[in-house]
Amino acid sequence: MKTSAAIAFTVILIILIGLGTAPHAESHTKSGTAEAAVHAFFDHVKAHDWDDAYAMVNPGDGVSKESFIRDIAGNNGSLKTISSIQKVDTKTLNDSGSEANVRADLQWSTAVGAVHETRDFKLTNSGGDWKLDWSAPQQVPTAADAKPVQTNYLRWDIVQSGASSNEWGVANAEPPRTRIISMNAVDYNGSVVIMGEVVNEDTVPGFVTINADLIGQDGNSLAQESSFDKISHTLLPKEVSPFRIDFPGRKLAEVKSVRISPTNLLVPASADPLVGVFDQHIEKDATGKAVLRGQLTNQSGLVVNIPHVLATFYDKSGKVIWVSDGYLDQALKPNQQVPFAVDLRDDLANQVQNYRVTVNYYNSSRS
């Protein structure tokens, strides 16, 4: 009786452990399809198993294991180095048995929030194993291309006056004078969106944040929001930045007026980096959505760890009709070009007459 009870309890325990462990194992064994291969590939990426991930790709020419890892894991403190894959949804576009195209909707958890990416993969079936065709990222500068680039080394620092704050008549340097040169309010997706442009009219760099209050018909504040990260905060003299403030769950019909309160601050700043925005054009992406594409070129000596692109769209009367932004997950080394794409509302695509791209950035070495 003693032994049989012990065996029974042991068997029950083993069965329960089996029930708990089976589902995990199952997901690893089922890789017969192209989609499953993409899922398995990103499982390795999530677990930072670069060797297993590299084993699942057909490297194109110029793709070594190191460049593959730099491409998938990011380098130079780029946004990808501080991101992790969160969710992968796949759809097979076509599958001929030996070759397949799979579209992957990737959701990354990054240091600036959730970032969605749609990427098409071409897979080839070699001996029952689907492998992803992996080509080299555009224009990675080789050593031969490196050429000296002048760094501006222009820098402002703030020297506060020593006088005590309430000595009558004495004051520190005033904050820079900024001016909102255009503003527009629209309803979009169940939100009120306030957008416009702000210019630094002064001769010293300024740090701008913009808050807005929606005033209801009864004169009271309905909601208060800020531009948050949809603005380039640090403005050099004569620099223009777009701003956009979203009020979720509000309608323009309930708004009587908007009280905009920009806050300016005199801050130390650097004139570097100098980033050119080339080949800007509006086109449809793979999913048929209107996007503004272009290339960022770093014409200064400073590495830009996380570039942030803000695009302002104007109609033919020059009015701002939309502002959108996007983060690049690749760092921008001197002399390097990196492609970018920023969404544009499909319903406005044909009204857009002109556009302007501003590049904001974060440098980990700066702070």
């Binding site: 009558w168 008549g169 010293v204 004569k238 100098l274 050119g276 014409q299």
Partner: protein
């Protein structure tokens, strides 16, 4: 017997009180001593701005120290229930509170610099007596603009235009030998006659502005943003927000045949170049 004596004593005291007299000076100055006379001894109370004194005094002259009368205003002296008021006027000007704004101003702008002066004595009393404040504003190497403004209730103010030359302007206010100095940094205003030139540089076009100056000829400060824009039919648009350095802004644009190059800074547009070169 003792009851009668007490009654007599009270009557005498009341009589003395009624008879006691104080005489105060007609005019006193803040921060200077003064003398009042009391016809009988007793407790002196002196109540006034910043003052609440209680002191036993004998009959005759009572000296009030400079510290007792530090602040201008109305004082009340009370001895044995008798009170007299005296007005202490502010002393001569010793200090100037000079508010000059702004600390940074574009050149050649009318009425942008303002100065307001409050004339005070050494105890921060407002010197309300009439007087005059001399204002001077000038950039080194140029003759300063000077103007004398009468004070009204201790205040004088002036508005002035900014000079044509950029640089730190000395803005002074003086009353007699009391001088207070402020610095107003006159800076270049918006760029004027923005012009650029372009030349081939490998696969790119090197664009460079002529020294960027404002309409008064002052070079714009380093770091000012100058935007170069290249528009083509096939390759869309390319822009570079260059920074002025030593008065000149440079950038590299991709060499696209048939491109149109333009330059702008803030709200000012410069010249346009049509790039036909290969």
């Amino acid at each position: 017997m003792t009851k009668n004596f007490n009654t007599l004593f009270i009557i005498l005291a009341l009589a003395c009180a009624a008879y006691a007299q104080i005489t105060v000076p007609q005019q006193a100055t803040a921060g200077e001593s003064a003398t009042l006379t009391a016809s009988s001894g007793g407790t002196l109370y002196l109540i006034g701005p910043g003052t609440a004194i209680k002191r036993d005094v004998k009959s005759g002259e009572v000296t009030l120290s400079a510290d007792d009368l530090a602040y201008a205003g109305r004082y009340t002296a009370i001895v044995n229930g008798n009170a007299q008021s005296l007005y202490v006027s502010p002393a001569k000007p010793q200090k100037l509170s000079f508010m000059a704004r702004p600390s940074r101003v574009p050149v050649a702008q009318p009425n942008v610099i303002s100065g307001a002066v409050f004339v005070l004595d050494h105890n921060d009393n407002l010197v309300t007596q009439p007087g005059a404040v001399k204002f001077e504003l000038g950039v080194t190497g140029q003759a300063p603009v000077s103007q004398s403004v009468p004070t009204k209730d201790g205040i004088a103010y002036i508005r002035a235009a900014s000079g044509k030359r950029e640089g730190p302007a000395q803005f002074t206010a003086s009353v007699g030998d009391i001088v207070v100095r402020r610095i107003v940094q006159q800076v270049a205003s918006d760029p004027c006659n923005l012009r650029m030139k372009a030349q081939r540089s490998g696969n790119d076009i090197a664009v460079e502005t002529e020294p960027v100056r404002d309409c008064s000829g002052n070079p714009v400060p380093d770091g000012t943003i100058v935007t170069f824009i290249e528009t083509t039919n096939e390759h869309g648009k390319s822009t570079v927000d260059a920074r002025v350095k030593h008065g000149i802004a440079k950038a590299m644009l991709p060499a696209q045949p048939g491109a149109t190059l333009t330059v702008a800074s803030g709200v000012v547009l410069g010249n346009e170049i049509r790039w036909g070169g290969q």
